[in-house]
């Protein structure tokens, strides 16, 4: 395939689509599918056929539209009309509304002008909810693979890296390492064999951005990986994806097959000398495998245990070869950066955090779902404007970002801008993008215990500070929630957090104390209520007050 073929496919697809007066888009991402979106789609199709309208109205399965709480979602044409919680029984009324402009039942009508939709800025998700994720033609018609062709025919590897560096893009997996710098290191590393790995082991509980991108627009990730491979000089790539995401894996497999048969992956891509092959590797349910050296160990077929760095994977990674590891969302940003230039991307966001970030908004918030917002937006805007506030008139208590590595941010910091540095300054992290809202019904001791339980179970056991430290911290938190702890336990807990943070081998242990630290810092009164009064303010734990101060024992 060459550039003309690509343009032909794009033109052909657009022409085919223009034959229809209307297009009805049904979300077929995992969220809506579990609310029977596939039945809605089938019913719409058969209804149109029955009325003989299948030649003027097309039903299309598309990726995630974002507002998962109101699924199954359906949108018509250029999203002028949107529908929520659609059931197969609504198909007829929905078609009437789209074709003849008749009013649809109020229960399924959704306002496309909701803050949830208008408050977003979409780069990574620009095709989500628009294209059919299982059709490469759809992606190509949306300027897909154009950036890859531009790169391999017109740019030198250093030219590509220059654009990525200029964009100011930082790793979207959580740590925020500058992507351009990482690419440069791998580019400069010696050796003939290099690898590109896409980290799709989205293990943070409460995060589903990567799953959604892979389910809604898998080709975007493949294109980003291919551009990266060209830039750093790799010819082989792996996508390490969670086995818990069967739909994402299925769509990735389809996408890889389609790209290979169109000459967009494999040997001599675009009739050039550039070769790039991609394979999928399934994770097997170990959170620690999100850490890059553990992930490499897992791809090599072993236990996912981290090893000390340096050497960094950029110098010595998979099978000791220089390896570039980026997260799904990072790769998804690459094609638009190349298409529109690094400067364009750098014009969005804040001084040190450029571009947009996808967040998975969940918990006690009205509009749970997926959003993409420019860096620098406030937490308040995310939760109360886009998220529509807290349900049932309850009080906001905290928002948890960054999963088990992040912290709980209380009300007084809701106006800080969302960027890597501001979130770190209040003890949390940007993380991969999970954002869990909590209201007065959540107990912060319970939340800290929940995350510590997670880290304790997920600790790989290789280094002592993490293996033993998380267990001891969990035991103390459990004692507190049961009302069996004394004041000395609090001091010990504080000391342990510092120790585990400083002495652990990898990111899992180093960040495991964060949820505990932030809850200790901002919600000390709740800890005191458990310990001193034997009372859980949220009514989640059932502490039983012990009169004698409990003995501390580790």
């Amino acid at each position: 395939m060459n550039q003309d073929d690509l343009a032909n496919i794009a033109a052909q697809t657009k022409q085919n689509d223009n034959r229809y007066d209307h297009v009805i888009k049904v979300c077929v991402a995992a969220g809506c599918l579990s609310a029977n979106a596939d039945q809605v789609k089938t019913q719409l199709e058969s209804e149109l056929k029955q009325r003989g309208l299948e030649t003027c109205c097309k039903v299309k399965g598309v990726g995630c539209m974002g507002l998962c709480a109101a699924g199954p979602l359906v949108a018509a044409d250029a999203n002028e009309k949107m529908f929520r919680e659609v059931t197969p029984a609504d198909a007829s009324a929905l078609i009437d509304s789209v074709m003849d402009d008749k009013p649809a039942p109020p229960a399924i009508v959704m306002d496309p002008q909701l803050d949830f939709f208008t408050g977003q800025k979409k780069i990574v998700l620009e095709n989500s909810g628009e294209i059919d994720p299982e059709k490469i033609e759809d992606y190509i018609a949306a300027d897909g693979y154009e950036a890859l062709f531009h790169v391999i025919t017109k740019l030198k590897p250093l030219g590509v890296i220059e654009q990525v560096t200029k964009s100011g893009l930082r790793g979207r997996g959580g740590a925020g390492f500058p992507t351009g710098l990482k690419w440069t290191t791998v580019y400069k590393a010696g050796g003939t064999q290099k690898y590109v790995i896409c980290n799709a082991d989205e293990g943070d509980p409460g995060a589903f951005m990567d799953r959604s991108v892979l389910e809604s627009d898998p080709h975007r990730v493949l294109e980003g990986m291919a551009i990266a491979a060209y830039a750093v000089g790799a010819n082989k790539g792996f996508i390490y994806c969670r086995a818990e995401y069967p739909l994402a894996v299925k769509r990735l497999r389809i996408a890889i097959r389609q790209a290979e048969s169109n000459g967009l992956l494999g040997m001599n891509i675009g009739d050039t000398h550039f070769d790039f092959k991609v394979e999928i590797r399934l994770g097997a349910g170990a959170f620690v495998c999100g850490e890059e050296t553990a992930l490499i160990g897992s791809i090599e077929g072993g236990r996912g245990t981290p090893r000390p760095r340096p050497p960094f994977p950029a110098q010595s990674g998979l099978w000791n070869a220089p390896t570039l590891i980026n997260n799904v969302e990072t790769f998804a940003n690459i094609a638009p950066i190349i298409r529109r230039g690094g400067e364009w991307y750098a014009s969005i966001g804040t001084d040190k955090s450029k571009g947009t970030k996808v967040f998975a908004l969940a918990g006690r918030v009205n509009n749970t779902g997926l959003i993409e917002v420019p860096m620098g937006i406030t937490l308040r805007d995310i939760i109360f404007k886009l998220g529509g506030g807290i349900p049932e008139g309850r009080e906001f208590k905290a928002v948890q970002s960054g999963g088990p590595s992040g912290g709980c941010v209380p009300e007084q910091y809701l106006d800080i801008p969302v960027d890597y540095d501001s979130l770190a300054s209040v003890g949390s992290i940007m993380g991969s993008g999970g954002m869990i809202v909590m209201d007065e019904t959540s107990c912060m001791v319970d939340v800290a215990k929940f995350f510590m339980d997670f880290c304790m179970t997920e600790s790989c056991g290789k280094c002592v500070p993490c293996r033993v430290g998380t267990t001891q911290m969990h035991n103390i938190l459990e004692r507190i929630s049961e009302g069996k702890a004394g004041k000395k336990d609090l001091e010990l807990l504080q000391r342990l957090t510092g120790m585990v943070k400083a002495a652990s081998l990898c990111g899992l242990g180093q960040t495991a104390p964060n949820p505990t630290l932030t809850t200790l810092r901002y919600f000390m009164d709740e800890y005191r209520a458990h310990i001193e009064e034997g009372r859980c303010p949220a009514g989640i734990c059932h502490p039983v007050k012990v009169e004698e101060e409990a003995e501390v024992g580790v």
């Binding site: 995992a30 579990s34 399934l282 349910g285 077929g301 998975a360 969940a362 869990i436």
Partner: protein
């Protein structure tokens, strides 16, 4: 230097071993294909047996100790046969905030099994998942591979009750068909 690949025959006559063999061949019997192959075994047979681990170890030239280590390191692999139906309760953060532990208690109460256990009649296994990524639908539960969202203690009890009572249902439908 690795020893050359040994060809040994599968642990049993079961035709499904052909699927596992095919997967190993596709990866050229490379030791690093271990996790991929274990996935195939579990997908094919439902769980990993000791015999299967030994067979994979010899075929891929990986020490049995390492195969066992890998199989037990990852939560996704199980060495216990699953029940006829599975009920996986998501215990991710969003689901936890929205009461996943209450759902687990409800199942325990209804079916008398704890997470990781199977009912005595083999009808139902109760499992937990770290996060399904369906946080928009919290609390979420997977019944026999189908994700269901916004589950309540009542709805999960109903579902579990139906699973447990299935044997009787099966015999009823059978007898209806016989009458026809």
């Amino acid at each position: 230097m690795l020893p050359t690949a040994k060809t040994i025959s599968p642990p049993s006559e079961d035709k499904r071993w052909k699927i596992v063999d095919g997967m190993m061949r596709r990866h050229g019997h490379e030791p690093h294909a271990l996790i991929e192959v274990l996935h195939t075994v579990q997908e094919t047979f439902g769980f990993l047996t000791d015999d299967a681990l030994k067979y994979v170890a010899v075929s891929l030239r990986v020490p049995y100790s390492k195969v066992y280590g890998v199989a037990t390191f990852y939560h996704f692999f199980t060495m216990k046969p699953p029940g006829k139906h599975t009920c996986v309760v998501c215990t991710g953060t969003a689901c936890h905030i929205k009461g996943a532990s209450m759902l687990l208690n409800a199942v325990t109460e209804e079916a008398m099994i704890k997470p990781g256990e199977t009912t005595a009649n083999g009808n139902l296994s109760l499992l937990t998942a770290r996060c399904l990524g369906s946080c928009g639908l919290a609390p979420a539960v997977v019944f026999d591979g189908q994700v269901a969202g916004k589950i309540t203690t009542e709805s999960i009890k109903r579902k579990v009750h139906a699973f447990l009572a299935e044997d009787e249902l099966d015999s009823e439908t059978l007898s209806v068909e016989e009458h026809k």
